[in-house]
């Protein structure tokens, strides 16, 4: 594939996009595992939400 005389601009555009999308995916995944961990810690300490106490 020949990207011509402006290959640097094309490669830079794709590189920036890949970087930002990868950062978004990493943020969502890390945030999910962090929230799950904190919830698990709280439940281990016996903290429950009101809806869990009423059994619903």
């Amino acid at each position: 594939m020949n990207l011509g005389p402006h290959a640097d601009f094309i490669v830079a555009a794709y590189a920036v996009t890949v970087f930002v999308v990868a950062a978004l995916i990493a943020w969502v995944m890390l945030d999910h595992s962090a929230q799950r961990r904190i919830l698990g810690d709280l439940e281990e300490r016996g903290v429950t939400r009101r809806s869990q106490r009423s059994g619903s």
Partner: protein, 243 residues
């Protein structure tokens, strides 16, 4: 399952957990097809190979506006019906929309240098998209810095609705003003002006980016619901500690 059932956060979490693996797989497959077709697309007769930047720039531009539109609907849900999931949807969409707008601005700039001879010009289209990006940052600041989440959400919802005025300005800026940016060539009266050999991969890439947006949004909504549960449990824990 009735649509109203999805308004229950617990049911929404169940649905999101089921849908996310399928959405992620569909996103990967459509991106693979889209990138394969995009790399095999012919060069433009005027722009040469730089037309390949269009496969990133145009979908992210559409989704930058779609993201704000989604947040505007969510803002109505927050302000009018005070529905917690509407606020969750708005808050989860803001960083994703901001990231897509950022990609749109950077890829547009990198496309502009070889085709226009400049990275940036203060014309109506470019400036209104920059304003959209700044509005996204403003909404994020309101969500992330408010001490009272409820007040922060209402302020963000109001800013979102005010900012929605910018959407038609972005769309019609190339018609209302004399801009360096080209006029609409896909969504326009009389049909697309783009050859099918370039239009088809562009539409596949648009579908791939849309799937990516939806997947990330659903995952971010799931995280936000869990974050609110953590906050509620911490408040209850604090109330149970004897003074």
């Amino acid at each position: 399952m009735a649509a109203i059932d999805l308004a229950n956060p617990t049911r929404f979490l169940t649905l999101a957990n089921r849908a996310l693996p399928w959405l992620a797989a569909a996103t990967v497959v459509v991106f693979a097809v889209g990138l394969y077709r995009a790399m095999g697309a012919p060069d433009d007769y005027q722009q040469g190979a730089t037309v390949k930047i269009m496969f990133l720039h145009v979908p992210t531009a559409w989704l930058a506006m779609f993201g704000w539109g989604l947040m505007s609907v969510a803002a109505l849900g927050t302000l009018v019906w005070r529905h917690p999931l509407a606020d969750v949807a708005g808050k989860a969409a803001a960083p994703i929309g901001a990231a897509f707008t950022f990609i749109c601005l950077i890829t547009g700039s990198l496309w502009g240098r070889p085709t226009w001879g400049t990275y940036w010009v203060w014309d109506a289209r470019l400036t209104s998209v920059l304003v959209l990006f700044l509005l996204y940052l403003g909404v994020l600041a309101l969500y992330w810095t408010a001490e009272d989440p409820g007040r922060g959400s209402r302020a963000a919802a109001i800013l979102t609705l005010v900012g929605a005025i910018n959407l038609p300005v972005i769309k019609f800026s190339v018609d209302w003003w004399n801009t360096l940016h080209q006029p609409a060539s896909i969504l326009r009266m009389g049909g697309s002006a783009i050859d099918p050999s370039i239009l088809t991969p562009l539409l596949i890439m648009a579908a791939a980016f849309t799937l990516l947006f939806v997947t990330l949004h659903l995952a971010a909504m799931r995280n936000e619901i869990l974050r609110r549960r953590v906050r509620t449990m911490r408040l209850m824990q604090a109330q149970e500690i004897p003074a």
